[in-house]
């Protein structure tokens, strides 16, 4: 009922606008997310804010539908069907399971995904450069090359890089494989130390002493849970520890080049706006994060035997002052 009234209202407004010679079309964006938690909620907010900035304002010339599956995949599937049935201009799918259910249900409707680490592995797109069908989006894959640029900027002479990882964690394993490949391309050597649980992280870090010039940690859940163990080894042995996520800098890592999920949402929103303006997702390469924030911790650097240059500190978005 209310919907019909709304449609009539919108219709009337459209007619009125058209008669004034300034017809403005109301576009519809449907956003589905698998579960509500801070990072994914930030993506949702980012998408809406970016759309507003690009001239698509909710309630004015934009209708936003938003549903969360509350972690339940059967409901995610029903949300996908509901959205496909309403045929909006774009469906935005936040996180891998939601993106897959939408991809299974939507044949012709443009889909933009967000917060998907491995879109090719998730079979959402056939390649990152040319997705081809009706789907593209933003991946939250770590920009390993940019991280390595940062690491080399701090330590140009480092030749052997160590990492601690959990061989039982799928994401961690694929990140370490990628890291090894990217390091090899720079003529650097990766030294791996495995820790299957948090209690093994200290021992694994110790095994790197004498073998490496620096330690770089990915977003491996097991290792990040016990990051202090790696940092304490780094401090004692004078090996600088770098991280992929900015939160670890406050815990004592030297530096990290990370992103926050609100900006991830903003970037997703920019892609959505392009589609609303007529672009076809199949022609849009999958994007990774381009706004990265540098966090540095000069005191931690000192404890690990390096001095961070003035210009690096100047470039940092946040300089962590920890003096323990």
């Amino acid at each position: 009922m209310a919907k019909r009234t709304l449609r009539t209202l919108i219709g009337a407004t459209l007619l009125a606008a058209a008669s004034l010679g300034q017809a403005q079309e109301v576009r519809t964006v449907a956003i589905t997310q698998i579960v509500e938690h801070p990072a994914l909620d930030a993506v949702y907010q980012g998408v809406k804010d970016e759309l507003a900035e690009q001239g698509y304002t909710e309630g004015d010339n934009l209708t936003v539908m938003h549903e969360s599956a509350q972690g339940n995949s059967a409901i995610a599937s029903q949300i996908a069907r509901k959205f496909v049935g309403e045929s909006p201009d774009v469906i935005v799918a936040i996180a891998t399971p939601s993106a897959q259910t939408v991809a299974a249900a939507a044949r012709n409707i443009p889909v933009i995904f967000s917060a998907v680490t491995d879109p090719v592995g998730a079979k959402l797109v056939s390649s990152l450069e040319a997705p081809g069908k009706n789907i593209s989006g933003v991946s939250d894959m770590l920009p390993i090359d940019k991280h390595l640029d940062m690491l080399q900027r701090v330590m140009p002479d480092a030749k052997r890089i160590g990492t601690v990882y959990n061989p039982g964690e799928a994401n961690a394993v694929s990140l370490v494989e990628l890291l090894e490949e990217r390091l090899a391309a720079r003529d650097l050597k990766l030294v791996k130390a495995a820790a299957t649980k948090t209690s093994e992280v200290l021992g694994a870090s110790r095994s790197l002493v004498g073998e490496v010039d620096a330690i770089y940690l990915t977003t491996d859940n097991t290792v990040i849970s016990a990051a202090e163990a790696v940092i304490s080894v780094g401090e004692r042995a004078g090996i600088p520890v770098f991280a992929a996520d900015t939160a670890t800098v406050a815990r004592g890592a030297v530096a990290a080049l990370g992103f926050d999920y609100y900006n991830h949402g903003r970037q997703t929103g920019a892609m959505v706006a392009k589609v609303l303006n007529g672009a076809n997702p199949g022609d849009m390469p999958v994007e990774t994060m381009d706004t990265l924030d540098l966090f540095v911790n000069p005191a931690a650097g000192k404890r690990m035997g390096i001095t961070l240059s003035e210009d690096l500190i100047r470039d940092a978005k946040e300089v962590v002052k920890s003096d323990k």
Binding site: A2, S73, R81, G85, T96, P97, G121, L124
Partner: protein, 300 residues
């Protein structure tokens, strides 16, 4: 109102959860065995089917293997209860949490995508039907076959022995029924059906995900109880039909809730709606019979 695609989507998911409700009917109703294994055996079925399909197996064989894997999981729960005397609820919780690790092992990662693979649905898309109607047709056939097989089983000598085991274990033992074996068979059968549901669900939604078992037990129970409120389960066939109808009604209710902008309902209210639906389904039949009771007493 509901769009056609959302409607067929609700029926499709309802049919799959009808299989889950069959399983829960066997464990909860026939055997009186509160079994939470299903939260693990649902993704187990999905994982086994997905990995085999990726490995190039025929999707029907992969689905069959998912049923066997589900049965094995159910057998473990039952054996923990029968042989090691662990409380049935606790035994099922133990299997459920173990299955999380097992599922990760089987898949090798948290999510295995099937979007571009050949599934049991693929050949059916050549039929002259809309894309969203195909899964409904196939799953109706699967559910009818499962219903007939279960009905015949329940009427067989073994089925009757299983029902006796659930109704009155002491009496059943006195009649020479191996009640332990009946519990193992029943819980295995139950989880085999749930494994089948998981395998079909993964193939229709495009991926197996390690988290997809969350809440399966609650939804299955909601379907079972809701169905019994509509169709009085006086015979086995009626009870099985109640499972399917309950699951479909539940899914339609969710689909309507997703569309209920009118009532001011939002995404975050969904779990609350589920709880209210289940509560109503449990309470309403009682209210109805007490009302009817009053009327009949007045007449007499």
């Amino acid at each position: 109102m509901l769009s056609e695609i959302a409607f067929y989507g609700a029926i499709e998911t309802g049919l799959i959860y009808g299989l889950v409700a069959f399983g829960i009917y066997i464990s909860f109703r026939v055997l009186d065995f509160p079994d939470l294994t299903v939260d693990g055996s649902f993704p187990l079925g999905a994982a086994v089917a997905a990995v085999l399909i990726i490995g190039g197996w025929n999707p029907w064989i992969a689905t069959g293997a998912a049923v066997l894997a589900g049965m094995a999981a159910g057998a473990v729960t039952a054996l923990l209860n029968v042989k090691l005397k662990i409380l049935n609820l606790l035994a099922s919780i133990l299997t459920m949490i173990a299955l999380y690790s097992v599922n990760l092992r089987i898949m090798g990662r948290p999510n295995v995508a099937l979007l571009t693979e050949q599934t049991v649905l693929t050949p059916w898309y050549n039929l002259d039907l809309a894309y969203h109607q195909v899964p409904v047709l196939l799953f109706i056939i699967v559910v009818i076959v499962a219903l007939i097989l279960l009905w015949r089983f329940m009427k067989s000598e073994t089925g009757l022995a299983m029902r006796a085991t659930g109704a009155n274990p002491r009496m059943a033992r006195a009649q020479g029924i191996a009640t332990g074996a009946m519990i193992v068979l029943g819980v295995a059968l139950s989880n085999g059906l749930v494994g089948l549901a998981g395998a079909l669900f993964a193939q229709s939604q495009g991926a197996a995900d390690v988290t997809m078992g969350v809440g399966v037990i609650v939804i299955g129970l909601a379907s079972l109880i809701g169905g019994e409120a509509v169709i009085t389960p006086s015979t086995v066939v009626r009870a099985l039909l109640a499972c399917v109808f309950g699951a479909i009604i539940y899914r339609l209710a969710i689909a309507f809730a997703l569309n209920a902008d009118v009532l001011g309902l939002q995404a975050q209210d969904l779990n609350l709606i589920t709880a209210v639906l289940v509560t109503l389904a449990i309470v309403l039949p009682g209210v109805r019979s007490s009302v009817i009771g009053k009327f009949t007493r007045n007449k007499a």
